[in-house]
Subunit: 356 residues, 3 copies
């Protein structure tokens, strides 16, 4: 990404915990990937997958860790956390969209709404009664904000976000387009074969510094609130059921389904398409790899996974499926073999241990 801005390496890294190996006066005019970088670009190396591109990169500087630095033939920015350093440097090349404070004339504002003069409400929004919008908040075009919602300072709603009534949102929260927060939880009681709605009386609390990705949905609690603690990062198309609690600084990748009343600890990392059953608890600092199915509580930190993953040729897959369904028969055959062998060589019987 070429930019019109230009900095020396020293300027770019001012205040960051890094060592420069090379020329701190080198001019940098953009960021790039290690394989596509051109002279004047800065890039980074954090994934071993891309290490092969380091010796030939045309970048003017590479951000990397000490143990990668020896293979770096250009200026090296050495850090214990190269990706974080990259994030901070990339901010310098990012175009910040400036938004005019004030309320667009096409937007419809409810009674007693308290919108800070430094906040911005774009076109075609509908803001309910008794809403409080703090300083520096940016509400994108076409958002709907229900009655009695509170949005704290410097939070940003992109276009077409929906916030149902009584939701509270903290500071510096970012909500991408299509996000829906506070819709009714999925509660129905069956009586005589028909489903009757269970009123969803709680709401949703989103703490400070939360990011929520496009078209993600967060249900309001049945009785108490659904709670997303500070610093949580949610990707796109995630479903968060009613009464769920997600602990501070947990990060959850795309298309994860979290059923009602599940509790996820602090500092967890949940891989994409993971499914978490209702009412389970996940301890702090748990990592679930992608596609994990959490059907019972996880009480200790660590890395968890499930299922049989990995794509194989369909013909292998069909055989595997068939074998899997013959496991019971296989186990019986082994048992019979053991019984037959014991008759011949009783001396070795102690070696034939069964777990059945």
């Amino acid at each position: 990404m070429q930019s019109t801005k230009q900095y020396t390496l020293a300027e770019l890294t001012d205040g960051l915990e890094i060592d420069i190996k090379g020329d701190p006066h080198c001019l940098i005019s953009g960021v790039s990937t290690i394989q596509s970088a051109q002279p004047g670009h800065i890039t980074f190396l954090t994934n071993a997958h891309y290490r092969k591109h380091l010796p030939e990169t045309k970048a003017s500087a590479v951000i990397l860790s000490t143990n990668e630095a020896s293979d770096c033939r250009v200026n090296a920015i050495i850090s214990r956390n190269p990706y974080f350093i990259y994030a901070k440097i990339a901010e310098r090349f990012s175009t910040v969209q400036t938004t005019q404070p004030g309320i667009h004339t096409s937007s419809v504002i409810g009674d007693n709404a308290d919108i800070h003069p430094t906040a911005s409400v774009a076109a075609h929004c509908v803001v309910g009664a008794n809403v409080r919008i703090g300083a520096g908040v940016v509400i994108g075009p076409g958002c709907y904000i229900g009655d009695d919602v509170t949005i704290d300072n410097n939070t940003i709603l992109d276009a077409r976000v929906t916030i149902y009534s009584r939701v509270t949102i903290g500071k510096r929260v970012r909500l991408a387009s299509g996000v829906v927060i506070g819709c009714d939880g999925f509660g129905f009681a069956n009586q005589h074969g028909q489903w009757h709605k269970v009123p969803q009386l709680g709401s949703v609390e989103i703490a400070d510094d939360v990011d929520i990705g496009a078209n993600t949905t967060i249900d309001r609690g049945a009785i108490e609130n659904t709670v997303i603690e500070a610093g949580v990062k949610l990707d796109n198309l995630i479903q968060v059921g009613h009464n769920v609690k997600i602990g501070a600084h947990t990060i959850i990748a795309g298309c994860v389904a979290i059923a009602g009343s599940a509790t996820i600890g602090k500092g967890c990392m949940i891989g994409g398409t993971t499914a978490i059953a209702g009412h389970v608890s996940i301890a702090d600092n748990v990592i679930c790899t992608g596609m994990t199915s959490v059907t019972k509580s996880i009480t200790e930190s660590g890395m968890y996974s499930s299922g049989i993953v990995g794509a194989v040729p369909n013909i292998e897959f069909r055989k595997n499926n068939a074998r899997f369904y013959r496991l019971d028969s296989l186990m019986k055959r082994v048992k019979q073999l053991e019984q037959a062998i014991i008759k011949i060589i009783p001396v070795s019987a102690d070696k034939l241990q069964s777990d059945e």
Copy 2:
């Protein structure tokens, strides 16, 4: 949830099939969970997971079944269906949003639209030509309703719902924000390596008392209509393909994917993240647990599941995966053992049965 309303137990349960064990004049001012309840609250017990909280609950009353009642030290509301009774009682503490009838001046209404005077169309809606909106219907802010759509009495669309042309929606239907109904089904014909759109000529019929969750999508039929029968309850982020039929009073949890032309019977319960293949049929009263993959028709009622579920430590998972892919070799080894044994002790050969 504390409320400004207050009722005696007798008032709250008037007309419901319950027995009160305790004081029918006890005043109740809110509902709560069994573990968080305070004096003045009513709560319920339906999930064995929460039974441990019953002896110490501070609630003034608990709704529960006969066989839980003996452990209840406070007023007990005894029912064969405690969750349904809770639903009815919670309604009394629910704040019903009152909506003004009429069409907001910012909304754009097409030719020949027939909107009942008791219906409400909020701000920034676009309603197409020849739309019929019945008595008591509530259309939330920012909805789009295509041409020739019919919405029957007392149906509620939350903010930012999209209904494509010619869709019909029954009475007392509730559609959450971000729902899209009647988008084109996924039909493409390949000719010489390129995909050509197959016109999607059908539409969608939603019967009475259907609930649809946030950001769920329902495709219009290719030729005939996609049909959602009466009383169906769909959670958030569900995909319903073209030509699908979902039978009456079936309930489907979040993130389920239903491929085109699948038929689901009446009274089914489909767990979250289940995937249903195209063209399969599922009988009435089938239960699929969460994460089931339905690849063939299910012809009898009952509970179905699939795969290997449950999160295990990643190191175990890696071993399991490895073992799974050695199953074929294991089966061959057992067969060779059987053949070797038979040579030694032919008398026991009949006991060594093979399924291969």
Copy 3:
């Protein structure tokens, strides 16, 4: 689907590569499914599942392949690609919505937007600065188009589509309601237990003839662009992570999750609910059946699958799960049996091969 239009078989098939077996003057007034067709309807047979309906169909004509034609008792339209022929014929019965060119007065248009006079912008849209909208483009109600977006000729956005800034969209693209293109990719760097946003400096390029289904989300690139090549077809509720590249004429069914930096080749077919891990590459012409988990790169064309699929009665499923977790013990028992046998009949030891 009955229509007010009527054509002879000869008119309907003019210019298409087919043979008519029967009466080319037969009048056709609508399309239908093979099982519901009435006289005057044309239908098609492409799925063996529906072959049983051919002998009794009441249709006036059936589009089918040569080897099905002998069972057809009505007029037959014989083609090597019956579904493509059906698509072309169905277009004749499709109602094309005519849209008035011009910008609805309620829409808000940014500075320097260049909107072609033949394009249409419906009500309640917000179009950013420096946007270029080509000839014949249709922007549905309630869309948001960010600054510096380019939309090429004859592209159609249905209602409530969101396009973030700097995205480029080709010709004849169709975007269904709720689509979000160009939202920030999911990039966060952890420093001292907290997640810091990594600026997402790239954008999204959508080439010509791409279709994208309802509520699908496509993230903008971290540095370079996320790229969707020509003729790609995406179904509903798909997540496309940042930096992903999808090759020309690839088709992807609903609810697929594609993690960041994955590359999918040309001409692939990806079944519904498939999950594709980050940074993997998939070769051209790969087919993944539904529910595949692609965790490593696929380097050769072919059909791939994974996991254990297929719903079985829950009681069987529980046994299978239990057996699976005893595989390790089973393998050890077989090894011990082999060692015991070898002591008795060393001559056959060469037949007892181990893969351990």
